[in-house]
Symmetry: C2
Subunit: 204 residues, 2 copies
DNA sequence: TGGTTTTACTGAACAGTGTTTAGTAAATTT
DNA sequence: AAATTTACTAAACACTGTTCAGTAAAACCA
């Protein structure tokens, strides 16, 4: 009976449909306007139908977040592939910062909003986050091996670098920089200047 | 006529009342449970009354945020007053990080949530943020004057330090660290370890 | 094939949110 | 004492996430 297989495919397709609609809503109209009702409207189903595929909005947002991570990891592969470890570290930095500044809604969902993380039970691991983080960890490992940066603990080094870049991006996304009496160009200058400075400071 | 003066005092007192109720709700029940209706309930007025004193929730949250900044600035004065600049920088770091970790709801309102910033018109300056930031700027200025840290631009140095600490705190508050397969103690270790590392890296 | 069960879906409701408005009683002014 | 202004509220509006009873179609079984 290929029926149950087809049904399984249909189920997966429907979930993909919902995710895509949510993602579109999210990136084009902003989070505020991405309600279950509007997502349902977009795929031409009733709002209640979404709850046949997702137990709640948090669970759906977790899947949308997953899509965002796929995009980020692709960018890492394309834009951060130098063999020289420190150059690759710079590329990762650039790619991450630019991803955040150019896709604030996605970045928000991935690293700022609480909602999608509610889906993770305690002691459960954040697979998407860890996978993306692994790129940075590998790079930092190579840098440390060749004594290119002032870190001895790999994980702590990667975490510090992540923390630093996240701080800059999230301050920008959540409107804490421009209100310091800076215009748009000065904000970008501040962020990129900080990164350049930091790379110099951690370089051996 | 003392009447208009008394009315002015009453108005100020009422706003203080509302702010206090909101702050209490916020820190004790969390942001999710701090609705206008519940705040109104707490001060025993109708929800509509709040709109006679604040044009919307964002404006109220901006005032609550102001209270939070008063607390943070007080902490800076008490806990970061060493005369030796680099020691003072360490104290500011510690005070800021601890404030964030111990008062996640306040920190959220001050540096993560979008809502209170909606109140600021474009090109308007964020007074509270700038005042608190000034403490860091002064300290960084002293450090640079005495050639204690690897920065030449004062503002950029202070901004970098702020960004770094904010990154760590906000990743924690928005649940992005513990899901990396870390227990509570390891999270704290990671944060404080990163700070210690960073201070070493920027030290001349 | 016909009858039964399962599946996929929806309309309507519930309980909550921020916010507005019309109406009212009290305080103030004339 | 009458007129006006002030301070406040009940009720509604337009949303939100979510649940549940009901329904038509698909699948299964005899």
């Amino acid at each position: 009976m290929g029926i149950s297989e087809r049904k399984e495919r249909d189920k997966v397709e429907m979930r993909k449909n919902i995710i895509d609609a949510a993602m579109h809503m999210f990136t084009h109209e902003g989070y505020e306007n991405a309600s279950i009702r509007k997502i349902a409207d977009k795929i031409e189903y009733s709002p209640a139908t979404i709850y046949l595929y997702y137990k709640d909005k948090d669970e759906l947002l977790y899947d949308v977040q997953g899509e965002c991570f796929t995009k980020l990891v692709k960018i890492f592969h394309k834009q951060a592939n130098a063999t020289e470890p420190f150059t690759r570290l710079q590329q990762i930095f650039d790619a991450y910062i630019n991803f955040g500044l150019n896709n604030p809604e996605m970045y928000d969902l991935m690293f700022i909003m609480k909602s999608p993380m509610n889906n993770l039970e305690d002691k459960e691991v954040w697979q998407n986050g860890n996978d993306a983080f692994a790129h940075l960890v590998n790079c930092v490992q190579d840098c440390i091996d060749q004594k290119l940066i002032k870190f001895d603990n790999v994980w702590l080094g990667a975490f510090s670098i992540w923390g630093f870049s996240h701080g800059l991006i999230s301050l920008d996304i959540r409107c804490r920089i421009k209100v310091m009496n800076l215009n748009e160009a000065q904000v970008l200058e501040a962020i990129h200047g900080s990164v350049a400075n930091y790379l110099n400071q951690i370089k051996t």
